[in-house]
Every structure is written in C-alpha cells, then in structure tokens.
Amino acid sequence: MKFKVNGTEVFASTGGRPFDKNKPLIIFVHGSGLTHMTWVLQTRYFAFHGYTVLALDMPGHGLSKGESLKSIEEMADWVSNVIDSVGYKEASLVGHSQGCLVTMECAARNPNKIKTLSLMGGAGAIPMNSELLSLAENNDPKAVDLMMDWAHGPAGHFGGHPVPGLYHINTGGMLAKSRTIKNTLGVDFRACDNYKNGFEAAKKIKIPTLSILATGDKMCPVKEGKKLADLIDGSKVEIIDNCGHMMLLEEADRVLKVLKNFILSNYPAKLN
C-alpha cells in the first residue's frame, strides 16, 4: 500500500492482505540497497495469521519516493514516523542487516512504542569494506555482485531456493540494481559505516529481543551478533547453520519458524 510519511509517498507490502488497523502491527525493515521483497517468505505468513504487516521500502528504495536517508538515526526516526503515519501507537519491529541497526536505534529511542525487536544478521556496528563502499558510491555494479557473493551461503551459491524456480543470487542482484546503485546502496553503506551508536543503543533496550544469526554469515558473523545480543537484557539468540547473511531467503522456513515462535509468544495476535 502507499501512504505518506513526512509528506513523501512510501510503499509498503501488506503481505497480500488488506491493511487492518484492528490487528497488531509488525514492521519489517530491509537491508542495504534492498527492498520489501526480501521479506516475502515471512510477511505473508503473519499477514494471514492475525497481524497487520508493513514490509517497507525505505525512502528512495523500491517503490518508495524521496531520497535515501543518510544516517541510521534518521532512518530510525523515520520508522517511528511510519507508525504514527498509519495511525498506530505501537508496533513490533523486524530488521535485517542494516535494518537491524535501524530497528535497534528506533527501539532505543522509543521504549514505549516498540514492543518486540527481531534482528536477523545483526551486529552492533557494521563497518564497511572500503573497496565495497567505494564501488557502491561510484555506482559500479560490481558492488552488487560482491555483495551478492559475500551475502549468500551455500543455498545462494549452489541453489535450492525455497520457492521452486527462483535463483537467489540473480534475484538479489536485480533487487539491488532496481534503483541507481550510488543512491541506494552507496548511501546505505555510508550510513552503516558512519553509525557508532549500536552498542549504546543495545544497552537501552528492555523489550523482548530475538537475534537470528547464521554460521555462514560473512557480513555480520555470529560472534559479532552474539556480542550485540549480550548487551540486550534477556535477549534470545537463535543460530541457523549452513546458511549465509541472506538467511531470510536462504533458510526462509527455519527463520520463519523461529520468528513465529518469538512474535506469537511476545506479541500475540487475537486470531478470529
């Protein structure tokens, strides 16, 4: 659906169900340079099981208008504004990669508004490889190719997509190339590189939090994810083996199972 935040049109997938303000809201925030489509194997489940879902396209990404936001802090405030804009007072947040930094910062800034936090492939800081950052800022498609290489584990490289017929690396690459690379990936990578408040934000979070990490994640390794999780009171950690950074697609069913158990326990929907 389309709506406005700070006067600019935003697109968010509702997971194939109509937007319904009477159901609890879950917001999904994508990673660097990507779009709402990375969440398709999680969002549709929740949308069909008693939740209102918004898988956002961040400003300047996917089908959303405007320019990409330049810092994680701005993105965090923007996500908070999304909740206000659609007429909700609270929401549960799910983030992937850069989306983890955004949702974590948002939760730290809005302790009463955010009810649960689910982080996939997250870390307290995501310093960028300088070559990758430079390629992205110079609009070089090689940045996307490198990201797809490093972000995928065996399922991405060999195949075996949970949805028959889809090929991970080319699909991810096409998502990341759907808008001008320097304006999406370049800006996002710089925002990640500049963000230094992750560990401080983590210490402020007092809501139920889940970290889903993957043993083959080269971009946000398990040890970095655990370091972050250790700073969040009562944080739960789930580790997916034989999987890369794109766990939400590579091992979509296992990720959904873990996410489902966590959200249903901590932010239950009233099923009709």
Binding site: F11, S13, F48, G159, P164, Y167, S178
Partner: protein, 444 residues
C-alpha cells in the same frame, strides 16, 4: 560488513561450467545423493493444516502437487535461470508449451503482439492461427526489418516475440535495437534462444526480458526428452504503465495478490506458475527434467564441438558444386555476420541452411539418400539431422507465408552433430551424388 579474506577481489560466484554441473542442487539436503534424485511423485505431505494453507497462500515456498512444481524439475529451473543470468524459470513439457504459457501470462483477449516472421513452423501456426482464437492478434515482421517492429506496435501491443536466429533461414533479429524499441513502448521483448543456448548467447545481456527455450534441443542435447522453459530476466518494470493489469492489480485467484508488488523481479514466473501451470498444466515430468539436467552437465563441451563441426561444414558446402547457396552467420557475406560476432561470441551455432542445385527434386533425393544424417523433425541432437522444411517442418504454411518467412523449395535445414567431421562429409557426398542424378536425366 567486513570481509577481510575477500579484500580487493572479484566476486567468487560460480562460473558457467560450474553452474552447468551444480546450480540448483545441494546434496546434503537430499540424503547426500551426489546425483539429483528423481522425485517420481505426484504430491507432497503437508505437516498440518496450517502448513497446507501456507503453501496454497504462497506464504512460504515448497511443493504441493507436481503439476505446479516438483523438486527435480525445480533443480532444472534454477540451473537454467543461473546459466541465463535470470532471476527465475519455469520448466514446461515442451518448448511450444513454454511459448504458450508465456503468451497466456502476458496477454488477454484483445491484446496484440509483434512477431518475427522467421520462426519454427509450429510457432508460426500458434501465432497466426491459434492465438487469434483466444482473441490475441499478431503482426508479423521480417527479422531484419528493425524499423518494421517499431511501426507494427499498436496501443494494445503487449510484447515483441522472435527467435534470435530464425528457423530455418538463419536471419538474425537485432536484439539490442529491437529491445530498445520494445522498452520505449513500455513492453517486454521475448526471445526464443533455443538455437543458441546460454553458452552461445545470454539474451538478457542484450535487452531481452523473457527467454524461452525448447530444452529438447541442444540443452538436453541427446534427442531423448521433450522439455521447455521460460526464464525471467527480472529487469522489466511491470508497474511502469497500465498495460499489464494482471501483473499489477489484485488477482482474485490468490486473495488479491499483486504479483508485481509482491514478487518484483520474479513476478512473471510466479504468475506463470501460480496461474498458468495451475490452469493449463503443461508440466514437465521429473524423469525428463533429469534427462535434461544430464545434458546440461556437458553443454559447453558439446556446444564447442557442434560449432566447430558446423564451421567445417560451412566451408565444405561453400566449396561444393551441388550447393547453390549457404546461410550461416559465420559466412562473411551473411547479412548478419557482424551482428552475429557481437551477439554470439562463443560460436555461431550449428544450424545451417543451404540451397541444393536442382531445387525440390534434388532436395528430396539428397534427403532420401544420406545414411548417417538422420531425416527427422528435430534439431540440436548430438547426431547430425537434415530435413527439407518446405515438405516437413514448415509444410503447414501456405505459399505466401513460406515466401514471407524466407523459405525456398531448394532449402535443406542441417543441424550439425558432433560425429567425426569426415564421416558427415562422406555421407553428404552420397546425398549429393544422388541429388545430381535426376538433373542429369532431365538434362538429357
């Protein structure tokens, strides 16, 4: 996002020959079986009612019924998508069903297509006679008439379709130029790349949006199994205009799903499977999928030999007294020679058309007397194949259509196999000797 080990490197994603052997499959998820298992089953157990509902609602991936998807077939689909540089693929029971499913996913009654005139005869009949029964009309344009494709586009045109190298005349479409024409009009370019395989050409790199193959031919390669596939490039923006409402507006058949919004770069394939396979059902058998996978494992090895044998045969035919003309993109005076160098850098393919002196009677005598070359209605076998199109593959076309498609009665279509080249030439000598006899008689 640190990756110290990979600093200053190129991506380590697998390359063509490796993907031909491995893409789409992980042994550890299949009892360690090194070879892809043949899932000879119609249907798949649901964990519970919720799991069943989730699969039917496209909430999660997985298999329901082998008409819609099958694990062995899915390996083939991913493998071909990876080789083509596509986002997704959908395998079908034949190349013709891949074309039909593509058109039925793209068009509705009242729509129009611009189509290259030089196509396999069965495809011509689909566009000329069968699709109009569904309310879909077509305008045919000669493959080299690039401007003609532009002029033929109407308000209700939903796509341009053609074979990159036309069957059987070997005329090339200028794919980069024609894709630009299509995209300026906000419609996709659909390319049948059966003759090329992704080893010779990756149409997505030259502007195509959807690629179709008869996998029966070089991809499977051994003349054993029928199969087809449609592959999606993922770049075409279905939401750029209001021409494709079934892609961009809520679809009643899946609880109001908008395929373009939900699946973006894989939307076309998702719709073709969810709607087309469900409603038309031209599914590929797992056994045939496995046979095609066997063929793809050696695709690059075979294609190199096909192409080198074809170039030898071109030289042989050009120098032969019984041959009136030879059409193959490797011939320097072929009108598309330069374009072929650009679009087919790994080889110009193994399809040759040539004219035999003495016309139709000589052609019939040639075909009836070769022994090694097989006279049959197929191409892309490991074995050398010949046919006389005017009396075979294109015999259902009337005289005017034959002429418009660039077919003549003296034309022999040759699909060069990977036998020893000397044996193919020796066999042709027998055919040519027989072809000369009726002329000698008539000259007396």
């Amino acid at each position: 996002m640190t990756d110290k080990k990979n600093k200053g490197t190129d991506p380590k994603t697998y390359k063509f020959d490796t993907l031909s052997l491995h893409a789409g499959y992980q042994p550890h998820k299949n009892a360690g079986s090194r070879q892809v298992p043949i899932y000879q089953t119609t249907s798949y157990l649901f964990d519970d009612v919720d799991h069943a509902a989730a699969l039917f609602n496209l909430e999660r991936g997985g298999h329901i019924y082998s008409r819609i998807s099958n694990p062995t077939v899915a390996v083939l689909e991913e493998r071909v998508a990876s080789l083509e540089g596509g986002t997704a693929a959908l395998a079908t029971s034949s190349g013709m069903s891949a074309i039909f499913l593509t058109i039925m996913t793209l068009c509705e009654a009242g729509d129009h297509l611009v189509v290259s005139s030089q196509l396999y005869g069965g495809t011509v009949n689909l566009f000329r006679l069968t699709l109009p029964k569904f309310g879909i009309k077509c305008t045919f344009v000669k493959p080299r008439d690039t401007e003609g494709f532009k002029k033929a586009i109407q308000k209700n045109t939903k796509g341009i379709f053609g074979e990159l190298v036309g069957n059987p005349g070997n005329e090339l479409m200028n794919m980069p130029e024609i894709s630009k024409i299509a995209h300026d009009a906000g419609i996709p370019l659909i390319v049948d790349a059966t003759y090329q395989t992704p080893y010779l050409c990756k149409p997505f790199e030259h502007g195509a949006d959807i690629v179709v193959h008869s996998l029966t031919k070089w991809m499977a390669g051994h003349g054993s199994s029928m199969a087809g596939i449609l592959v999606e490039g993922g770049k075409f923006d279905w939401m750029q205009n209001d021409k494709f409402p079934t892609m961009t507006t809520p679809y009643e058949g899946y609880h109001g799903l908008s395929f373009a919004e939900e699946f973006g770069p894989t939307a076309f394939t998702m719709k073709a499977r969810a709607e087309g396979m469900r409603d038309f059902g031209p599914c590929l058998s797992p056994q045939n999928a496995w046979n095609v996978l066997q063929g793809i494992e050696t695709l690059s090895v075979r294609m190199k030999k096909h192409c080198s044998n074809a170039e030898e045969m071109v030289k042989y035919l050009l120098g032969h007294e019984s041959v009136a003309w030879v059409s193959h993109p490797s011939v320097p005076d072929h009108p598309d020679h330069e374009l072929a160098k650009k679009l087919l850098p790994n080889g110009r393919g193994s399809m040759i058309a040539f004219g035999i002196k003495g016309g139709k009677d000589a052609g019939v005598a040639f075909i009836n007397n070769v022994k090694l070359a097989s006279h049959l209605a197929n191409v892309g076998d490991t074995r050398t194949l010949v046919i006389h199109p005017a009396s075979g593959t294109h015999s259902q076309m009337d005289e005017a259509t034959l002429k418009f498609a660039g077919l003549s009665h003296d034309m022999i279509r040759l699909s060069v196999g990977i036998e020893d080249i000397d044996d193919i030439k020796n066999d042709f000598e027998v055919g040519f000797r027989a072809a000369r006899k009726p002329r000698l008689v008539s000259n007396q």
